[in-house]
């Protein structure tokens, strides 16, 4: 597999990545194959080579899939559908907004680790992997790629992303138009935005086959270290508000966070989205594996 130089201490080691990939392979494979040589393929629409059916054209379909003969016959745009294969396209969307940088960028580093591990595991399974860093707009993008040679490019790009400390908001919908075909999407974000970015997730859900959302959470975001009155400064919006540090204030913050997580869970359940909340103090391996276990069971 990839021999990318993972020298930075904040990125997983090769051993960790391989170990994680071995375990995750069973969870990420659509139909795990116990042995080489035989493969069961369930016929369903997807990205493949075998023609399966026709359907009406919708915005975002690739032009090359339009069946012009059927279009002429039915007097409307008709596209070909192909049989899905076990290997597909995965879009890993990494939140690079300013809220990910608070408290020594713990959330950001955790999300980068998880993205690295996910891309490694998915590439190991033969999927095409694309990585999109987003804030107010797309800040970095790696087009879909396959194979061992793609992983170093992913790592290099992840290293280059430098989230702005202030002023960069979360605008997930900026990534929606980057999706094409029948892709799967995995969003890593703290979802600290208007309505927990649920409208953006809904728009994203319509453009992909399956959607995973992993909410990073740092307990430090819910604590105030100062002793006297402080002025809270929203690093994304720049808004300020006075606050009196204390148990009551922090309790209210924890409650607000829990309610936000709960609203995201309910939204995920309604929209068929796999969702997990991740305390970044927890190891990324366990969080990702638990997430995929829950997603598979759902």
């Amino acid at each position: 597999m990839a021999q990318g130089a993972l020298t930075a201490p904040d990125l997983p080691s090769q051993a960790e990545l391989r170990s994680f990939a071995r375990v995750a392979a069973h969870l990420l494979a659509e139909h795990p194959t116990p042995a080489l040589g035989s493969r069961t393929v369930r016929r369903r629409a997807g990205l493949g080579l075998q023609h399966l059916d026709h359907r009406d054209y919708v915005a975002g379909d690739e032009i090359r899939h339009i069946d012009w003969r059927q279009t002429a016959r039915r007097q409307r745009l008709i596209v070909r559908q192909f049989e899905a294969e076990t290997s597909g396209d995965w879009f890993l969307m990494l939140d690079a907004s300013s809220s990910m940088t608070t408290h020594d960028e713990r959330k950001w580093h955790a999300a980068v680790c998880a993205t690295t591990a996910l891309s490694f595991a998915l590439l190991e399974l033969g999927h095409r992997v694309a990585v999109i860093g987003f804030a107010s707009d797309v800040v970095a993008e790696i087009p879909p790629g396959r194979g061992a040679r793609h992983f170093p490019a992913v790592v290099q790009t992840l290293r280059k992303i430098r989230p702005s400390k202030t002023g960069a908001r979360s605008n997930l919908v900026a990534c929606v138009r980057r999706l094409f075909g029948t892709a799967s999407a995995f969003v890593l974000s703290d979802f600290l935005g208007p309505s927990e970015l649920r409208p953006d997730l809904a728009a994203l859900r319509e453009r992909c086959v399956q959607l995973h959302a992993l909410q990073t959470h740092d307990p430090g975001d819910l604590a105030l270290a100062a002793s006297g009155p402080v002025e809270l400064f929203d690093v994304e919006t720049g808004a300020t508000a006075p606050a009196e540090p204390g148990a009551r204030t922090e309790s209210a913050a924890r409650t607000a966070h829990a309610e936000r997580v709960l609203r995201l869970r309910r939204f995920a359940a309604r929209s068929g989205m796999a969702f997990s909340s991740w305390n970044v103090a927890d190891p990324w391996q366990r969080v990702l594996l638990d997430h995929f276990v829950r997603a598979r069971a759902a």
Binding site: S99, D221, L224, E231, D234, A241, T249
Partner: protein, 521 residues
């Protein structure tokens, strides 16, 4: 009563409410960055609540105090009003008499001065004119009302600009059209200038002069100098009159700033000559000039009948001498003396005839150039005369013998030892010149070069301001003025409060931006 030297600085007190407004949102709190304000519902609710108004940051009082103290200090508070004493210098030259908008420049300037004096409540005012700087009007009102009637008679006679009274504020009313006044202003300590000048058109008679002609039948040469003191091409009609009759009239065009000289010969010797420019302009005083020729009349001269014939002929031939009989004469030729009361005398002394070579004749230093030509052998009288006394001047000598001696008067007496009865003067032409010289010396004037003239010169008619004037000096604090006793304490107090506030601000900045941020996470 508290007064302020620079009350404009009191506007700085308006910064006090501004400072309060800038601090109205309460004290500057330590800023803590958070991932999202939505995680802090209590804080958001507190900020959104109307609730009781937050108390402004108490540090606003310190900063308002600093601003107020600095404003008061800069305003220069004084417990007693400074008694400003003003010396007003009024340029009453001719150009100040030009009428602009119904008033002369002088009147307009004085009106401005009246307003300025009343605005500053100045009661101690001395008024001087530049034409007569030694004259002082003790009362400003009297001076301001008397000046317009006497102005324009003389051009400025400027006092020493470095010797103006340093304990008084000096103001100047001028139009800036006189280069000398402007230069005087630049060197002076005048602290305020009232420059009044709008109009820029004027043609004037700069000079009218008449010179008698050395001809048998007399006559005078008249010269008129016109000047265009404005900035436009002007055309005037010049009328020259002799006594009561018009002598000549001609059209004259003058370019801006230019002068033109017109000459005319008058065959007779009138008593007066006048020149007038028509139509008159805004400055009428220089549109006409009159010269009285009484001073050019020939000098009544009495000649002693004992004098040689050469003397008689020379006096008769002199165009500026007129022989009279009797005692009413200005000049008398005596041989050796004649009694004419009040008349200057030329005494031709008698003695033993002799001659001296002209090369031995020595004139007094400085007289060689203007001395008349002498015959190669000068006949003189010897054995008479006396040594010059103190105060007497030897004008000519030969071999140590005085030949011409001047006794300063009055009356002035010239004693001469030249023998005019000698044959050399019967034929030579030197007698009239030498006698003319004796007459000039006795009368102390050059009879053949007399000139009668009238006018104020080129600069008097120039009305165009040469420059925009500014006062070179600063207002002088009156001698009885005292420095503000509260200035230094106010400044010190402001500095202390400012330092106190600066220390607090530095501490706050260190706390908020330089101290490490600890989080509970």
């Amino acid at each position: 009563m508290m007064l302020f030297a620079s009350p404009i600085w009191l506007l700085g007190l308006l910064t006090v409410p501004v400072i309060w407004y800038l601090h109205r949102r309460g004290p500057m709190l330590k800023r803590q960055p958070v991932a999202s304000l939505e995680l802090w519902p209590e804080s958001l609710a507190t900020a959104a609540q109307p609730g009781p108004r937050r108390r402004p940051d108490p540090v606003w009082r310190q900063r308002a105090l600093v601003a107020a103290l600095l404003s008061l200090a800069l305003a220069g508070p004084r417990l007693h009003a400074p008694a400003e004493r003003v010396t007003l210098w009024v340029d009453d030259s001719l150009s100040m008499q030009i009428a602009e908008g119904g008033k002369t420049r002088l009147q307009r300037g004085l009106d401005e001065v009246r307003g300025a004096l009343s605005a500053r409540s100045v009661s101690n005012v001395e008024v001087h004119t530049l034409s007569r700087p030694w004259q002082v009007w003790p009362s400003p009102d009297a001076a301001l009302s008397a000046l317009p009637t006497s102005a324009g008679e003389h051009e400025p006679r400027l006092p020493d600009p470095t010797r103006l009274d340093p304990s008084r504020s000096h103001w100047l009313v001028t139009d800036g059209a006189d280069a000398w006044v402007n230069a005087w202003l630049a060197q002076s300590t005048v602290s305020r200038v009232f420059q009044t000048a709008e109009g820029s058109r004027n043609v004037g008679v700069a000079q009218l002069s008449a010179r008698p002609q050395p001809t048998k039948d007399g006559g005078v040469a008249v010269q008129v100098i016109l000047v265009n003191g404005g900035n436009q091409l002007e055309t005037r009609r010049l009328q020259l009159s002799v006594d009561a009759s018009l002598l000549d009239a001609r059209e004259v065009s003058l370019a801006p700033g230019s002068t033109q000289t017109l000459s005319l010969a008058v065959r007779t010797t009138p008593s007066r000559i006048g020149a007038r420019l028509t139509p008159a302009d805004a400055l009428a005083m220089d549109d006409a000039a009159v010269v009285d020729l009484a001073s050019l009349e020939s000098v009544a001269t009495v000649v002693d009948p004992r004098c040689p014939a050469a003397v008689q002929r020379a006096v008769d031939a002199h165009p500026a001498l007129r022989r009279v009989q009797g005692l009413r004469a200005r000049l008398a030729f005596g041989c050796p003396r004649i009694e004419v009361p009040g008349a200057d005398q030329v005494r031709l002394l008698a003695g033993q005839p002799a001659t001296v070579p002209a090369s031995e004749v020595r004139w007094r230093g400085g007289l060689e150039q203007g001395a008349p030509a002498l015959p190669s052998t000068l006949p003189i009288m010897t054995g008479t005369g006396s040594s010059p006394r103190a105060g007497e001047v030897v004008l000519m000598e030969a071999g140590g013998r005085p030949l011409l001696t001047l006794k300063p008067g009055p009356p002035r007496i010239v004693e001469c030892l030249v023998d005019f009865a000698a044959p050399e003067f019967e034929t030579a032409k030197g007698a009239p010149l030498l006698l003319g010289y004796l007459a000039d010396t006795a009368l102390d004037e050059t009879l053949l070069d007399r000139l009668a003239r009238s006018g104020r010169g080129d600069d008097a008619s120039r009305v165009l301001p040469l420059e925009k004037l500014s006062a070179p000096g600063r207002p002088v604090v009156g001698a009885d003025d005292e420095r503000s006793p509260v200035l230094l304490p106010l400044l010190l107090l402001a500095l202390v409060v400012l330092a106190w506030d600066a220390i607090g601000t530095v501490r706050r900045l260190r706390r908020d931006y330089f101290a490490p941020v600890r989080t509970a996470g």
